[in-house]
C-alpha cells in the first residue's frame, strides 16, 4: 500500500476545491441578470464536486500510470486527482479547440486516453466500461486496475448490478466506488435504496464490500488502498462505498429547497477545514503552509482558466468531424 502522506492529501483536496470554487464563480459570472443555463463562457449543466474531494483524493493516491478511472456526470475531482491536465480539461469546459475533446464533450464528457480517464453523463454506465478496461489490463498481463465511480443513486441501475457480477465471475481487477452524498438530485437515499449500506450488496456478488461512514480522507485512503492492492494482486474486485457530502446543488442553479434543515449544517461538515484543523493539531501543517498551499492552487487554477479563455473557439463546421475514425 502507498505510504500515507497527509500533506499531499491535503494539498490535493485544496487544489480541487480551489478549482471547483473558481469554476462556480466563472460559471455564474456571465449568466446575469436573467439566469440562463445556456449563456456565458461556460454554458450547459454544471455538476461540481465540492465536499466530495476526500473520495477522489483518498482513492487516487493509490493509482499509478496505466490505471483507469470511469467517472460519472460529476467528474472534476476524480479527473484532477488522477492527473488529467488542468489546462486541457478547463479548455474543454470552456468549449475550446485546445480542450481535451476539442469542445465536443464538455464537462460531463471528458476523455483523456493518456491517463485512461473518462466520464459519462449517464449514471452507472461507467461501471461496465471499467470492467472492460480491467479485462484488457488482465489480458495484457499488467498489474493495472480500473476504478469505476458512481453515486449512490446509480447503485439502483441494472448496469451497476450486472457489472458487479461480471467482475466477480471473471475475477477482474476493478474497484467499484460509490460516492454516497445522500441525494440523487432531490431524492434522499432513504426513498431510493432498500439497504442501509451499498457495501452489503457486495456479498450478493461474492466480493468484499466496505462502507466508509466518515467523509475523512485518511479513512478513505486506508479502505481504498486495501481494495486497490487486492485488485492489483489479482485477487478480484471490491466495492467501496464512501459516505460523502454534496456541499452545493446537484447542478448549478439548483435551489435545493428539498434539502430543508440539512442544508443549514453543510458548511460545518466541510471536510477540508476539518482536515486542516487536524493537521495543525498534529503539528503537520502551519498557518504559513496553509496560505502557501492555497496560493499555489489559486495560481494553477488562474493559469488554467486564462489558458481556456485565450484559446480559440471551434468553427461551426468542425461539428461534422470525428463521427468515425
Amino acid at each position: 500500500m502507498q505510504q500515507l502522506n497527509r500533506l499531499d492529501l491535503y494539498r490535493e483536496m485544496v487544489r480541487i476545491r480551489q478549482y471547483e470554487s473558481r469554476i462556480l464563480q466563472e460559471y455564474h459570472a456571465d449568466k446575469k441578470p436573467a439566469w440562463d443555463i445556456g449563456a456565458g463562457l461556460i454554458p450547459g449543466e454544471m455538476h461540481l464536486s465540492a465536499g466530495q474531494e476526500p473520495a477522489a483524493v483518498g482513492v487516487c493516491a493509490h493509482l499509478k500510470q496505466g490505471d483507469a478511472i470511469t467517472a460519472p456526470h460529476r467528474p472534476h475531482h476524480f479527473a484532477l486527482a488522477h492527473g488529467v491536465d488542468m489546462k486541457a480539461m478547463t479548455a474543454e469546459i470552456y468549449g475550446r479547440t485546445t480542450g481535451l475533446c476539442q469542445g465536443k464533450g464538455g464537462h460531463m464528457h471528458l476523455f483523456d486516453p493518456e491517463n485512461h480517464f473518462s466520464c459519462s453523463g449517464i449514471i452507472a454506465q461507467g461501471y461496465p466500461v471499467a470492467c472492460g478496461q480491467a479485462m484488457a489490463m488482465k489480458r495484457k498481463g499488467t498489474d493495472n486496475v480500473a476504478v469505476a465511480v458512481a453515486g449512490e443513486g446509480a447503485a439502483n441501475q441494472g448496469a451497476f448490478h450486472e457489472s458487479l457480477n461480471l467482475a466477480a465471475v471473471w475475477n477482474l481487477p476493478v474497484v467499484f466506488v460509490i460516492e454516497d452524498n445522500d441525494w440523487a438530485i432531490s431524492v434522499p437515499r432513504s426513498h431510493s435504496t432498500a439497504t442501509a449500506s451499498n457495501a452489503d450488496r457486495a456479498a450478493g456478488y461474492g466480493m468484499p464490500g466496505v462502507r466508509v461512514e466518515e467523509n475523512d480522507v485518511e479513512a478513505i485512503f486506508e479502505a481504498a488502498g486495501a481494495a486497490i492492492d487486492r485488485a492489483r494482486a489479482g485477487e478480484g474486485p471490491s466495492l467501496l462505498e464512501i459516505h460523502t457530502l454534496r456541499l452545493w446543488g446537484h447542478f448549478e442553479g439548483d435551489a435545493q429547497a428539498y434539502r430543508g434543515a440539512e442544508l443549514d449544517t453543510v458548511d460545518e461538515r466541510d471536510p477540508i477545514p476539518r482536515y486542516a484543523a487536524k493537521l495543525v493539531e498534529l503539528g503537520e501543517l502551519t498557518e504559513d503552509q496553509t496560505e502557501s498551499i492555497a496560493a499555489e492552487a489559486a495560481a494553477e487554477v488562474d493559469a488554467a482558466i486564462a489558458f481556456a479563455v485565450d484559446s480559440p473557439i471551434p468553427a461551426p463546421e468542425d461539428a461534422l468531424l470525428h463521427v468515425f475514425a
Binding site: 450547459g44 469542445g103 441501475q157 432531490s186 461551426p316
Partner: protein, 340 residues
Amino acid sequence: MTATETPTRRITTAKAMAEAIGLEMRRDPNVFVMGEDVGAYGGIFGSTTDLFAEFGADRVIDTPISETAFIGAGIGAAVEGMRPVVELMFIDFYGVCMDQITNHMAKIHYESGGAVTVPMVLMAATGAGYSDAAQHSQCLWGTFAHLPGIKVVVPSNPYDAKGLMAAAIRDDNPVLYLFHKGAQGLVWMEKNPRSIAAVPEEAFTVPIGEAAVAREGTDVTIVTLSLSVQHSLDVAEQLAADGISVEVVDLRSLVPLDRDTVLESVAKTGRLLVVDEDYKSFGLTGEIAAIVAETDPTMLTKPLMRLAVPDVPIPYARTLEYGILPTREKIATAVENLMS
C-alpha cells in the same frame, strides 16, 4: 373588456402539462405519476409542478434511478387498469430502459391479439440549444415513431401541451409524450415568447393524430414540430415583410401522422421545407418527403428541402452546437432558396 369576457390567463408549456395531469388525476383515481424528481421538486423541467402538494407522495411518486424497473412498473400498473403517467427525465436515457419501452409497452397489445391494453403515458424531455452535449440533447422522436405500437405526440406550445396531455392520459394506448426543454417556458433557460400563452383553465383535449396549420401561407410550406414550430413562425413573420407567404404545419403527433394536412398544404404552395431537430437520415424529414413522393411528386414545383441535424451527435461548444441545429437563420435561408 365587457362583463361577458373572461380574461384568459397565460401560462408556460410546463405549467400547462402539469395542469392537465392534475385535472385528469382529479377526475380519474386511476391516474398517478411516477419518475425521478417528480415529487417535491416538481420535475426537472417543471412537468409536474405543484402536483405533489395537491396529491401527495401516494400519487406523485419519486422513484429510484431505475428506469427499467419503474417504466416496467408503469406497464404493469397499466395492464391492471391504472393510467400511469411516467416520466423519463431525458429521452436520451432511453438506452437503459428500451426493452421495457419497445418490447413490452409497445408490443403487448399486439402480441396479445388485442386482449391486453397498456393505457400509459411516458413523458420525456427532448432537445438541444443550451450546451448539454451529446447525452442530454437529443430529440429521438423519429426512433420511437419508427417502432410500431407507440403513439408519439410532440407539442410546440402551451395550449397543445395541455390538450395533448389530457388526450394521452385518456388514450387506451401507450403514448410517448415528448416535450422540448426550450419550449417549456422555464425561467432558467432562454425561451421564445411562444412558450407562454393563453390556455383555458378547464380540461380539454387536443386530438392525437391531427396536425395544425399554425400559420397560413401560399408560397412555401414548412412542415415541422416542437420547438422548430416556434422558430418557423418567427421566420414566417420575418419573411412576410419581404413578401414571402409561409405556411407552417405543426405536426403535433408523429404517430398517428396527419398526412392529409401535410399533403393539402403542399398541394397549395408547391414548395416544401421539412424542418426537424432530430437526426436527418432515416427520420422524419425523409418520411414526409416519401409521403409527398408516393402521393404525387408533381405537386412540388421545386425539389423539396430538408433541414435537420446532420448525422452527428450533438456537440457541446455553442458554435459547434448551433452549427448543426436548425436555427431561424438556416430556416430563413432555406425558404429563400426555395423561392429563388
